[in-house]
Structures are given as C-alpha cells and as structure tokens.
C-alpha cells in the first residue's frame, strides 16, 4: 500500500521533521520557559529533548514492525478496526487543528509586528497560496521544498549571535539556583516546540531507507535542539529575567537590535522571511491531515482534499476571527492535547502493541 512513488530520501526526511519543529514555538520559547524555570531553562530543554527522542523511538519501534502499512492501517491492525479508525480520526482532527492554530498564530504575529492594519482574512488567504501549491504535490516534491527551506534559512540562526556583544554571561549563573523543581516544571513548555516529530507516523511508510528512520528522527531532534538551545541561551544572556517574563516574543525582541549598515530594523526582514519556515510546519500538518483522510477512506490521491481543507480553514478564520488573547487561551488547552498526542500516545500505543504481541505469544 505504501505508494512507491512517494519516496522521501533520508536527508529530506530529516529536514522535513526538523523544519516542522521550527515554527511558532521558537519565538515564544524563552518567554514560556523562563516563566517556569528561570535562567536554568536550558537544562529543562535538554530533558525535553530526551523525552521527545524517547517518544520518537516508540513511534519508530511500532512502525518498524509493520513495514509497508500506513499509519491508519497500523492503528487498525493493533487496535482493531473500529477503535483504530476512531483513533485515526482523532489524529486527523489533531493535525487539522494544528494547521489552524499555527496559521492563526502566525498571522497574528505578522499583524502585531509588521502589517498592523492588514485584513486578517487576506493575509490568511495569501499564506495559503504557497501552502496549497506545495502540499498538493507528491511527497517527493515536498521533500525538495523542505530542502530549499533548510538551505535558504541557514543564515537565520547565526543572526542571533549579533546579540552576543550586549549579553551578560553571568545571567546564566547560578545553575539551578532555585533547586530542581522549577527545572522539572520547565520541561512542559519545552515539549511544545519539539512537536513535529510525530509526523514520522505518516512519513514512515514513504521512507526510502526505513532502517535509518530512528537515526533520522534523532538527528532532526538534535538539530532542533541546537536552534532552541541557541535561542534560549542567547536570550537568557541578553535579557534580564524580568524582561524575559514580560516580552511575549523575546526572540523577535532580540533581533530588533540588529542594525546593518544598509538595513536597520532587521527583524522586519527576518520575520517576513520566517514565514517560509512556518509554511513548512503548516504543510506538514496539512499533509498529515489530507493523507490521513486519504488512508482512512482508501482514496486515491490526497491532492483533491487540500483545497476543501483550506477553504474550511478560511471559513473557520472568518467565523472565529482569531485574536491574540483568544489564541493564547486556545493554546493553553491545545498544548495539553498536543502533549497527549505527541508524547503520551506513542508510549501508550507502544505499550498496547507490546501487550498484544505478548498476548498472541501466550495464546499460541
């Protein structure tokens, strides 16, 4: 069933997951993290990375034993036809909401930072154009696009080092000054930006080299960790702890001070260019949704589903009229949902799968 045409090379798979992880999360991470863990957030981040990698490991462990089966089929194999389908529907809903949340958040950030009076629906529709063009293609073309995203955004993270000249290394000390508890609380906000590795469920059947699936996921997680770590450490050194807690988007604030001889206010260029990264996150989840529906109902092609999904999303935007305050409330519960889907589910599913295997062996 794993359509042979939709093949993703190892490199493309790594970039696909990695660039899905880099999205809105990075922009707010220093803020959410320091609220919990103070200046020792980087330790929480390391722990978060371990948890994300472990969750990824469980994903691959299950998918590995069902080669050539799509996620929807694996779910039905393990959980039975109806429960499997129900769970798949939940996943599709989760991914669809993720598209909406990321898209609305992105548009709100653009409105706050760049185009204050721009009509929201117009912006949403404009961003949907490239999303539509990319997602309706074969996975192979999407893989190419991801490579482009990776390569053409390489220049962005080093810009953070511009802030180093005004930074205070001492801000990082003392390490764990307030004990371990804040660090443990700090794990929760770090789990959100790492999300994106769960697309591996959908990607696995399309991989060229399935044996390296976990290695690729590990590399992707680690690349994301490097970016998150850079962001967290530089902003901890740059901002006072009170600033970190009050600036909603510290990463943007950090970029605000970059002044080149010919361009001042670099964050405007940066944020505009940043849409490219967020688009990949959108595409990944939209593809997850469309492909999930395709697999669930045994359709031929995911491409026809993209347009109706985007129209639905646009309608949702027109009805809901997302605002920053509203989105923060949405995020609060959606974060919990996504931790459930991205972290608890792989472990649970793996456990069920193990139990089932054990049961079969006993029966035999």
């Amino acid at each position: 069933m794993g359509a042979p045409k939709q093949q993703l090379s190892h490199k493309q798979y790594i970039f696909y997951i990695y660039k899905t992880q880099i999205g809105i999360g990075v922009l707010v991470l220093p803020n959410t993290l320091s609220k919990m863990a103070g200046n020792s957030g980087w330790i929480s981040l390391l722990l978060g990375w371990m948890i994300a990698t472990a969750a990824g490991y469980f994903i691959i462990q299950v998918m590995k034993r069902h080669p050539g089966r799509t996620f929807a089929e694996v779910l039905q194999d393990v959980l039975g036809k109806w429960i499997g389908r129900a769970v798949m529907t939940a996943w599709i809903a989760y991914a669809a909401i993720a598209v909406g949340v990321v898209l609305f958040m992105e548009v709100i950030i653009i409105q706050v930072w760049i185009l204050r009076n721009m009509e929201q629906l117009l912006l949403i529709a404009a961003i949907m154009i490239p999303v539509f063009m990319i997602t309706r293609n074969r996975l192979q073309v999407q893989g190419r696009y991801v490579e482009f995203v990776y390569l053409y955004t390489l220049w962005m993270p080093p810009l953070l080092f511009f802030s180093l000249k005004d930074s205070h290394v001492l801000n990082l000390l003392p390490i764990a000054g307030d004990g371990l508890l804040p660090i443990l609380y700090g794990i929760k906000p770090t789990l959100i930006p790492f999300l994106g590795f769960e697309t591996a469920y959908m990607l696995y059947p399309h991989l060229q080299d399935k044996t390296k699936a976990f290695r690729g996921l590990l590399i992707a997680n680690s690349l994301a960790l490097i970016i998150f770590m850079t962001v967290v450490v530089t902003s901890t050194m740059y901002f006072s702890s009170e600033e970190l807690r009050t600036f909603i988007w510290p990463t943007m604030q950090l970029l605000k001070t970059i002044t080149l001889p010919f361009i001042e206010r670099f964050e405007i260029v940066f944020l505009s260019y940043y849409i490219i990264l967020v688009t990949q996150t959108l595409c990944a989840y939209l593809f997850f949704t469309a492909n999930g529906i395709k697999d669930l109902f045994g359709l031929q092609d995911h491409a026809k589903l993209i347009l109706p999904l985007l129209v639905l999303l646009l309608a949702a935007a027109a009805i809901l009229k997302p605002t920053l305050e509203g989105m923060e409330a949405t995020n609060a519960w959606y974060d919990i949902v996504s931790i459930g889907m991205g972290y608890a589910f792989p472990l649970l599913f793996w456990g069920l799968w193990q139990a089932r295997k054990l049961g079969e062996r006993v029966l035999r």
Binding site: M118, D166, L173, G177, F239, E242, E243, K256, T257
Partner: protein
C-alpha cells in the same frame, strides 16, 4: 484597497527622530519632537515641535495635530531626558508606550541633558548636519573615546529591570553654539537621578564594565625623583577585569583585579625610560588604584551599581543574594570592594 492596508507612503508620513522629555512647570510632561522635513523647498531639514500633556502618548497626539502627514515613530533615533525630570520621576513608566509598540526601534539612544530640553534642541548651531545625526555622532564618538556610556532603549530597559545593576546614561549639555558630552549620569535603584560622573570617571566606569574600546586614555600626574610633579598620559590597550565574589560578616566582598597593558604617550619630568620603567609602573598603578577606589566610593555613597556587581553576587552566591535582591543598591553600598591594579607598559613611544 485603502481600507484594509497599512501602506504608508514614505513621502506622506511624518517621521519623528528625536523625542525630548522634560518636566513642565505645572508638573505635566513637556515633550519636544524633531521630525524630518521632506519638503524640498524648505531650507531646514527638520522641524521642531513641542507640547505639554500627561503622558508621552497624549503628547504624541498633540504633536501630530500640529503637522500634516501620518505621524510615525518607527525611526526614532534619540530620546533626550532632562535632569529635572529624572530628579522628579522614574523614566521607565514614561517610556512604556515605546516599549509596548513593536514598531518603535529599541536601538534609539537615551541621552540626559543638564538643561531644559527645549533649549538644547533649539540651540542654533553653526555647523549644519541634522540634529539627530549630530547628537548620535556625539554619543558614538564620545563612547569610542571613553568619555561617556552609550545606552540604547534596550540597554536602558535591561538596566532598569535587572536587579543587579543600575542605569547609566550619557549626558550632554549645550556649550556656546555647540553641544558637548559632559560625562555619564547615574540613576539609582529607584530609577531617579543619583549622581553624575565626569568624563574621567566615565572612562574608569567603562574600564570596569569591560566596555572600553582601546585605546582608552588616562592622564595623571606622578612625582619624579626630585619630587617634581610630572604629567603622564597613558593609552590603555588591553585590560582585563577579574572579579572574585565572597561573603564575609554579613556583607558581600568583591575583589577586583585589573591587569592593564598600556602605552605611555606623554611623559614629562626627569625619567629615564629604561631604568625607571618599574618605578613608573608602580607609580601609575598607585594612581589608577586610587582613581578606581575613588570612583567606587562615589558609587557606594550614592548607592548605585552601574557596573553590575549584583550579577556577580547573584551568580556566585545566590543564597545571600536572595536576601538583598530587593535593594541591591543598599547592599552594594555596604559591600567591601577591593581594587588592585597592575600596570605593564609595553611602549614609551619613539623617544628614550
């Protein structure tokens, strides 16, 4: 398309480049704004506006009513604050509107002036670069030659919100037809005016803050063998600052070690360069230590810590820091700060 876009054609907008804030006689905020003048026929390139109101935002509306075009503050370059306002009120709440708006650049320089802001901005200058550029250059070169600090809006926000450091901003003053940098202004933990540092003291402050760009010049007078006063000037090329933090008898202890590599650029008096090198170094060390101690004593007396020893205290002795974090200025005043300097002269120039 007009309704749903925020297209603001550059030539239809009024860009404010300098905002000056002063305390009006009735206790309100007097704001002076400098806007760019795009009109080709007008001889000057900028226009001075002023108003008086409760807050910066209210004043902005008042200012914008005096001139056509869309009033934009995205290219704000300089914020000038009078000493009078700083003595009376905290500055940070006034600037809240600027920090809250992501459109406003936070690399605008914050400058204090020891006169009324209106007088400063209205000074008829003999040379004619636009005032924005003029003040900016003044501060940048002043900072490069170590006679004042350079604080942007972002730095200022950091210094105000960080518990372990107090604010320091550059200070200028009209001198005749020109403006001049006069040193550094220090604000206390309460955010109000605390002390003034001269240009020489500013140099030492930058040295201790590790913010100096070499060479930093230091001039003093030492006594030669015949007990004659001799002026000597140093160019400090390299300096490290090592701080050891301790806690003794209820007070923080900072041991500051300052190894300096310098070049003698001016040496009066009866010295033989080769033989007396060690002696000169010892004399200079004494002078530098003396100056540093005087500076720190002045800081402690005014209960300010613009160098940021609070960061050291927090980093290396978090337990005790937590007890004093609410009023670090007071704790610093009681702290025991010891300064030791070593001077190594690497060159006396081309004369013996």
């Amino acid at each position: 398309m007009a309704g749903c876009s925020d297209r603001t054609e550059l030539d239809d907008s009024t860009l404010i480049t300098i905002t000056g804030m002063d305390l009006a006689d009735n206790g309100k905020l007097a704001v002076t704004g400098m806007v760019l003048d795009f009109n080709e026929e007008s001889p000057s390139q900028e226009i001075l506006l002023s108003s008086t109101g409760k807050t910066l935002r209210e004043n902005r509306s008042l200012l914008s009513s005096k001139i056509g075009g869309e009033f934009l503050s995205g290219k704000l370059q300089i914020v000038i604050v009078s000493k009078r306002l700083l003595k009376a009120e905290r500055l940070l709440p006034h600037l809240d509107v600027a920090y809250r708006d992501p459109k406003i650049s936070n690399s605008a320089l914050i400058v204090a002036c020891d006169c009324s802001v209106n007088k400063l901005m209205d000074t008829k200058r003999s040379s004619q670069p636009i005032l924005t550029e003029y003040i900016r250059k003044l501060i940048e070169t002043g900072h490069a030659s170590e006679i004042t600090v350079r604080s942007t809006m972002q730095h200022f926000h950091y210094m105000e919100t960080e518990e372990g450091i107090t604010s320091s901003i550059s200070e200028i003053k009209p001198v005749g037809k020109e403006l001049a940098v006069v040193g550094t202004m220090l604000l206390g933990s309460d955010g109000k005016y605390a002390a003034h540092l001269s240009k020489e003291e500013s140099m030492l402050l930058l040295l201790l803050k590790k913010q100096f760009t070499s060479p930093a010049s230091f001039t003093t007078s030492i006594q030669d063998e015949n007990h004659n006063k001799a002026n000597v000037s140093l160019d400090i090329n390299k300096a490290k600052v090592k701080v050891k933090t301790g806690y003794e008898e209820g007070n923080f202890v900072f041991r500051i070690h300052l190894p300096v590599v310098a070049e003698v650029v001016e040496l009066e008096g009866d010295f033989r360069v080769g033989a007396d090198k060690n002696q000169i170094e010892a004399l200079l060390k004494e002078k530098l230590e003396e100056a540093c101690r005087a500076l720190i004593a002045k800081l402690q007396m005014n209960r300010v810590d613009p160098i940021g020893y609070g960061l050291h205290a927090r980093a290396f002795d978090y337990g005790h820091w937590k007890e004093v974090r609410s009023d670090w200025g007071k704790a610093f005043a009681e702290a025991d700060v010891k300064v030791s300097v070593t001077v190594a002269i690497d060159s006396f120039g081309v004369m013996e």
